[in-house]
């Protein structure tokens, strides 16, 4: 064998003679911000070694040096396309330590944005999935339809992706006046659209061939690997944080958790489609609730009772220049001190269970925040599911787990 080029500073790993090592990523269309060492024997992958960390921006460390409130935008950058779901457990955990419970309207608003985010995130994942299989139309459609929901989120929060919406004790804005009918229109539009998605993508014989029976994870294997989210529901496991430990307003809403038994890539794609349907239901219900109830109770009293009149005017839409129904933050937010204690919280983010462990020692910065994002728990699947498949299955499996490297790298 010829000597591999010797480059200083480069880890040289021995490679079995009969295999051929392909490095996929980071500057590769078939990988996101990660590298996968794939060893192929002919066309069959024999060893897959995901090498992650290309987007590791040291959030856990930075969080230990920053004020509590500043960590919300920080953690949001993990997966900006799923911003509300990603920051919500942090907010919840801190609320648990503070022992406050946000008012119901705030809960519904959070739920609403979470579901909008979930749809946007699923559509993003489907779009990327499509482009992995060479189906550019699905990519474009998913991104086009995602814009509908991004637009909704923008109407609600004032930013396309990085909403920084939930804050301790409440949320930052209330819905604008025209939001309910817009949301309903969007929901109806999306339902029709999903049928066309099924026609051009999921039921397309070409795509079905690529996905059926590929990357099969059965119940026990999925449990052993600790896969989360829609992926695990595609394997027939009834686990969804919204189901087992309802948070925010989820225990008051009527929706289903779609479960599939097959556990292959196709089922994983279908779970997401069905979840989009359910999320549309939830959005409609939440919007109904918000419309029926008066605009009050946006923020926990503890942070709001001393608010001056100006703040209330802005909230009630009497002054409108940087958005109506805006919650002004009290200056104490800037240097909030949280009592000593520790808490964990989990929510069902777009890609699965999002888990935070927060420990405070009574200072104005956290003592330790441990973040486990759904994608981080799914990485292990690549290592154990891919071997034995063909090289061309790599994007199919990779895409079906709905990758988002910044999320797993944190």
């Amino acid at each position: 064998m010829e000597a591999a080029p010797r480059l200083p500073g480069m880890e040289v790993r021995p490679v079995e003679r009969h295999v051929y090592e392909v490095q996929i990523g980071p500057a590769h269309p078939g990988s996101g911000h990660m590298r996968i060492f794939v060893e192929v024997d002919g066309d069959i992958m024999v060893r897959v070694d995901p090498d992650i960390g290309f987007v590791h921006r040291t959030m856990e460390k930075l969080a230990e040096g920053r004020d509590w409130i500043k960590n919300i935008p920080l953690f949001e950058r993990m997966a900006i396309l799923d911003a509300c779901n990603i920051t919500l457990p942090y907010v919840e955990a801190v609320e648990k330590i503070l022992d406050i419970d946000p008012p119901p309207r705030a809960k519904y608003l959070r739920t609403l944005l979470c579901e909008i985010n979930r749809i946007a995130s699923h559509l993003y994942g489907m779009g990327i999935f499509g482009v992995f299989l060479g189906h550019s139309t699905l990519y474009m459609w998913a991104f086009g339809d995602r814009e509908v929901f991004v637009q909704l989120a923008e109407d609600l929060t004032g930013a396309r992706l990085t909403h920084s919406y939930p804050v301790f004790g409440g949320v930052r804005r209330d819905i604008p006046d025209d939001f309910p009918q817009n949301a309903r229109k969007a929901a109806r539009y999306m339902r029709n659209r999903l049928n066309e998605y099924a026609k051009i993508f999921l039921n397309n014989p070409n795509i079905r061939k690529r996905l059926e029976g590929v990357g099969v994870l059965d119940k026990n294997r999925a449990t052993e690997l600790g896969i989360v989210g829609p992926n695990v529901r595609a394997s027939g496991i009834k686990y969804d944080v919204r189901l087992v430990e309802p948070y925010e307003a989820y225990d008051e809403l009527d929706f289903e958790i779609p479960i599939f038994e097959e556990g292959d890539s196709l089922a994983r794609a279908w779970v997401r489609v069905e979840e989009i349907r359910q999320s549309l239901n939830i959005i409609e219900q939440a919007v109904d609730w918000l419309e029926r109830h008066p605009r009050e109770g946006f923020m926990h009293d503890r942070f709001w009772k001393n608010a001056p009149q100006l703040y209330k005017d802005i909230y009630n839409g009497k002054i409108d220049y940087a958005g109506k129904y805006r919650v002004k933050l009290m200056p104490l937010f800037a240097s909030l001190k949280v009592p000593a204690g520790k808490a964990s919280a989990r929510v069902e983010a777009g890609r699965g269970e999002m888990f935070y462990y927060v420990e405070s020692d009574g200072k104005n910065v956290p003592y330790r925040v441990r973040v486990v994002s759904p994608s981080f728990r799914n990485v292990i699947a690549f290592k154990y599911v891919m071997p034995g498949h063909r090289l061309m299955d790599l994007p199919a499996i990779y895409g079906s787990f709905d990758y988002f490297p910044p999320e797993w790298d944190r």
Binding site: S136, W141, N204, N206, K209, R210
Partner: protein, 352 residues
């Protein structure tokens, strides 16, 4: 009296007639050869992008010339490629690296000299007795150079892409050969001119044997690795397949070679199944006898190619082994069946 104008006219006519319309030159370089192919490829890539954009809720190339819908986009791309640096990596085999794409282009257009563009024997580049056979045989040569390209690049993605290309050749070649030759029993000849003449009355062979047409169509898509068989340069695992290391105009050439191959085979399909210059009967003279029929063929072939390009917006790509087993379990039996249909039609005298 001989005037200067007359001389000029004669000389001009002479040049036109003996140089430009000299059949090999005309067919290789002008229509349907390099120049027509260039125009068509530019149009088709533009069409491909625009059609996909239409399906995909957007505009596609537009700003460059809003009035024509961005039709000059590909010209800009071509010029940009021309004036870009050509990086030759240190690890490549230089001569093969340079030669392979050029040879691929040449062998892609070579079948075009074996096809007639008119029924006037004066304008045949070669004797037409075996033209179908020669064209089919020549069209199988150019993929070899894609493999050579990938091997010369000495890049992992390129080599994997090259091997996939060779497997795809294995899958498509038999289909293409059988389905293109499946019309032979109906006409009892390899002469493409005769084949076109038979179809003059609107009895296109594609209608007599639609399965063969479908199969040939799919084989062409496969052979040029277009969607849904875009396997050799499937970008999600192999970055650009065999072309990964090529930059500048060399890459343009590579991409062009694939499209030119598709163009060549489309012309062949047009002649064999879609009646060639069919409703039109070539008259005497260069224009009526050569230019017009060749333009008709070009027009038909462009339509064929446009349909192929449209599939990009509907399909993803197959896996390599799926494409292979699809070829062996569905398409080759289909092609053999189409062949049988032709023989049976002959036997039972469906066509007089």
């Amino acid at each position: 009296m001989v005037t200067a104008a007359q001389v000029a006219y004669d000389v001009g006519w002479g040049i036109l007639h003996y140089i430009i319309f000299y059949p090999p030159l005309y067919q290789l370089i002008i229509i349907p050869g390099l120049i027509a192919a260039l125009v068509v490829v530019i149009f088709i890539i533009w069409f491909e992008r625009k059609a996909a954009a239409r399906v995909q809720m957007r505009y596609g190339p537009w700003e460059i010339s809003p009035r024509t819908g961005g039709a000059t986009q590909l010209i800009a791309d071509l010029i940009r490629y021309t004036f870009q640096e050509i990086i030759v990596p240190r690890t490549v085999d230089f001569m093969s690296y340079i030669i392979a794409p050029n040879a691929a282009v040449i062998f892609s257009i070579l079948p075009l000299v074996a096809v007639p563009m008119t029924s006037v024997s004066q304008y045949w580049p070669i004797p037409m007795d075996f033209s179908l056979l020669i064209a089919v045989a020549l069209s199988t040569l150019s993929p070899i150079f894609v493999v050579m390209m990938s091997w010369a690049s000495n890049n992992k993605f390129a080599v994997v892409g090259g091997v996939r290309e060779s497997f795809i050749i294995v899958a498509y070649e038999l289909i293409a050969v059988i389905s293109l030759l499946a019309v032979v029993p109906l006409v009892s000849t390899f002469n493409l001119v005769d084949i076109v003449q038979v179809q003059m009355g609107g009895r296109w062979l594609g209608l007599l044997n639609p399965i063969a047409l479908l199969d040939a169509f799919i084989a062409v898509i496969m052979s040029t690795s277009a969607f849904p068989f875009e396997i050799p340069d499937s970008e999600s695992e192999l970055v650009a397949g065999p072309y990964t290391e090529y930059s500048g105009l060399m890459y343009g050439l590579n991409m062009g070679a694939g499209y030119i191959r598709r163009w060549t085979l489309s012309v062949l399909i047009t002649l064999v199944f879609l009646g060639g210059w069919a409703p039109y009967r070539p008259g005497p003279g260069v224009v009526a006898g050569y230019l017009v029929p060749s333009l008709i063929v070009v027009a038909k072939a462009v339509v064929v190619m446009a349909i192929m390009s449209f599939l990009r917006s509907v399909y993803g790509r197959y896996r390599l082994d799926q494409a292979l087993s699809l070829a062996w379990e569905v398409l080759i039996p289909m092609a053999i069946a189409a062949f049988g249909i032709s023989i049976a039609e002959t036997y039972f005298g469906v066509i007089p």
